[in-house]
C-alpha cells in the first residue's frame, strides 16, 4: 500500500476509533465511581465473560450468520425477480409492490406463529423470518432503481430495437445499481434482526437463543454480549455491501452483467 493511501485510510479511521476508546474508558470509569443510574456491563466484564466461556461466541455466532445470510439471499433473489417483473409488466406492478408493502407492515411477531405452523419450528423458520424482515428495502431499491432510466434513454433502446431483456441488461439494471445498493445495505442489518427474532421463537443455538437464555438466568454480561454481537453482525452486513459498491463504482467499472 502506498504511503499516501495508508495516510488516507488512517484519516478516515482515527475519529471513530477515538470515539470508541473514549466511550469504553468512560463506561469503565463511571462504573468504578458508581455514578451510573442503571447497570451497564463494562467492556472488561464482557471480555471476562467471553474468556471464561468462548463457546458462547463460537457456538452461537455461526448459526445466526448462516440464518441471516440464507434469509437475505432468498429475499434478494425473490425481490429482484419480482421487481424485474413488476417493472417490465406494468399490469403486475401494483400487485407485486403492494404485496411487498403488506408483508412489511405486518409485525413479524404476529406472523411468526403462523409461519411456525407452515414451515415448522426448525432452522427454516428463522431463515424465513430473516427473509421477510429484509425484503422491503430491497424491493423499494429495486423498483425505484429499475425506473431510474430517463425517457430519452428508453427511447434510445427502442430506436435500437432492443428486446425487453436487453433493455433490462444494458439500461435498467446499470442505472438501478445505486438504488439497489442502497436497498441491499439497509436490508443487511434487518436480516440479522430477523434471524435473531426468529431465534426467540425457538432455537437451541444462535445469538437470539443466547440472549433469551441469559435473560432468564439474569446473566447481564451475556445479554450485553449478545447485544454487542447483534450490532457487530448488522454492521458487518452493511459494511460488506458498502465495500462491494465501492468496488463496482470505480470509473468505467463492471456495471453491466459480464458476457
Amino acid at each position: 500500500m502506498a504511503p499516501g493511501s495508508s495516510r488516507a485510510l488512517w484519516s478516515g479511521v482515527w475519529r471513530p476509533l477515538v470515539t470508541v476508546i473514549v466511550c469504553v474508558v468512560a463506561v469503565e470509569l463511571l462504573r468504578k465511581t458508581g455514578l451510573l443510574p442503571v447497570y451497564i456491563a463494562t467492556p472488561s466484564e464482557l471480555v471476562t465473560a467471553v474468556m471464561a466461556k468462548p463457546s458462547l461466541v463460537t457456538q452461537n455466532l455461526g448459526p445466526t450468520i448462516w440464518r441471516a445470510t440464507a434469509g437475505y439471499a432468498i429475499a434478494a433473489l425473490c425481490t429482484l425477480a419480482a421487481a424485474s417483473i413488476a417493472v417490465s409488466v406494468r399490469q403486475l406492478y401494483g400487485s407485486i409492490y403492494n404485496f411487498s408493502v403488506t408483508m412489511h407492515s405486518i409485525p413479524i411477531i404476529a406472523t411468526a406463529p403462523l409461519l411456525a405452523l407452515w414451515v415448522g419450528t426448525g432452522e427454516q423458520l428463522q431463515i424465513v423470518i430473516a427473509a421477510l424482515a429484509c425484503q422491503f428495502p430491497m424491493m423499494v431499491g429495486a423498483v425505484q432503481g429499475l425506473q431510474a432510466a430517463d425517457a430519452r434513454q428508453r427511447e434510445l433502446m427502442e430506436v435500437l430495437s432492443a428486446s425487453r431483456f436487453q433493455t433490462l441488461r444494458y439500461l435498467l439494471i446499470p442505472s438501478a445499481l445505486p438504488y439497489l445498493f442502497a436497498g441491499l445495505k439497509i436490508a443487511a442489518p434487518s436480516a440479522v434482526l430477523g434471524a435473531i427474532t426468529g431465534e426467540w421463537a425457538g432455537a437451541d443455538r444462535g445469538v437470539g437463543a443466547m440472549m433469551l437464555y441469559a435473560l432468564s438466568a439474569y446473566n447481564t454480561p451475556t445479554i450485553w454480549l449478545s447485544v454487542l454481537l447483534t450490532c457487530l453482525l448488522a454492521a458487518v452486513g452493511y459494511g460488506v455491501w458498502a465495500l462491494v459498491e465501492n468496488l463496482v463504482n470505480v470509473p468505467g467499472g463492471v456495471v453491466e452483467l459480464a458476457e
Binding site: E155, L156, M157, V159, Y170
Partner: protein, 269 residues
C-alpha cells in the same frame, strides 16, 4: 445505401385531459434517397412528433409513413434507422467506445475485429480520437453530441434522423458541428432529416426545408435550397443563401410581418 422518406397525409391526435389535441394534420413530405432535409417551425408545432412518427417510435392516427417502401417499424428492426436526440443520451457508465459498441451489443456481434476497426474509424470521423476511453461526463457538450452522432452511424443507417441535435450548444460550436455533420453525412451517403429552429442552420444544411406552423401542426411551405455542395461557411454570405433564408422566413411569418420583429429575426438568422 439510403432510402427515401415518404409521409403521406399523416395526422396525429393526442388525447389530453380535456379535448383531444390535433398535433399534426394532413402532413405530406417526401425526401429523396441520399438527400438532406430539414423541418423548421416554432416550438410546439409538432416537429419532434413528426420525427418520432417517421422513426416509428409512435404510430400515426391516420396516414402512412414509409422508408424505402417499408414501414418505420420494419426499417428500425432491420437497423436501418439512426436517431440523434436533443440531448446526447450516452450511457454514463460506458466509455465513448463502449457507447458506440452498444448498437452491436444489441444486434449481436458478427465480426468483432471488423466492428472494432469500424468504430475506431467512426471515432476518427467525428474527431474524438484520443477520447475512446473517456466517460461521457469527462467530455464537453459538443463532444458528447458528436459521440451520439457517431453512435447513430454505427450500423450504417439508410435514414438518419436528428432532433435538434445542436440546440444546447453555443453558436460557435454549433457552426463547427454543422460543418462536421455535413461532412459525415456526405461520407456516409445516408438520407438525413434534421429538426431545428434555426433558420440559418436549416438553410445551410439542407436540400429542402419544410416549414411548419402550429395548431394544428402542418407543413405550410417547402423551400428548395440550390446552393452547391460541399458547402462552406462562406456560402452563408452569398445572396442565394439570403434569398433562401428570406423565403423560409416568409414561410414562417408571412410576407407582411411587422418591421420590428422582422429586424429581430434578421439578427437571429
Amino acid at each position: 445505401m439510403s432510402r427515401d422518406i415518404k409521409v403521406d397525409r399523416v395526422a396525429m391526435v393526442f388525447q389530453g385531459r380535456g379535448e383531444p389535441v390535433i398535433a399534426l394534420d394532413k402532413v405530406n413530405l417526401h425526401v429523396e434517397a441520399g438527400r438532406f432535409a430539414s423541418i423548421i417551425g416554432p416550438s410546439g408545432c409538432g416537429k419532434s412528433t413528426l420525427l418520432r412518427l417517421i422513426a416509428g417510435l409512435m404510430k400515426p392516427f391516420a396516414g402512412t409513413v414509409t422508408l424505402g417502401g417499408e414501414t418505420p417499424g420494419a426499417a428500425r428492426r432491420d437497423k436501418k434507422l439512426g436517431f440523434v436526440f436533443q440531448s446526447p443520451t450516452l450511457l454514463p457508465w460506458r466509455t465513448v467506445r463502449q457507447n458506440l459498441e452498444l448498437p452491436h451489443d444489441i444486434l449481436g456481434h458478427r465480426d468483432r475485429r471488423q466492428e472494432r476497426d469500424q468504430i475506431a474509424a467512426l471515432i476518427d470521423l467525428v474527431g474524438l480520437k484520443g477520447f475512446e476511453n473517456s466517460l461521457p461526463h469527462e467530455l464537453s457538450g459538443g463532444m458528447q453530441q458528436r459521440a451520439a452522432i457517431a453512435r447513430a452511424l454505427v450500423l450504417k443507417p439508410e435514414v438518419l434522423m436528428l432532433d435538434e441535435p445542436f440546440g444546447a450548444l453555443d453558436e460557435i460550436t454549433r457552426q463547427r458541428m454543422n460543418l462536421e455533420l455535413l461532412r459525415i453525412w456526405a461520407e456516409s451517403g445516408t438520407t438525413a432529416l434534421l429538426v431545428t429552429h434555426s433558420i440559418a442552420e436549416a438553410v445551410f444544411m439542407s436540400d429542402h426545408v419544410y416549414v411548419m406552423s402550429p395548431r394544428p401542426g402542418s407543413i405550410t411551405s417547402v423551400v428548395d435550397v440550390d446552393l452547391p455542395r460541399p458547402r462552406s461557411l462562406d456560402d452563408m454570405r452569398t445572396p442565394a443563401f439570403f434569398d433562401c433564408v428570406n423565403r423560409v422566413r416568409d414561410g414562417l411569418f408571412g410576407r407582411s410581418s411587422p418591421a420590428a420583429p422582422d429586424q429581430r429575426q434578421q439578427i437571429e438568422a
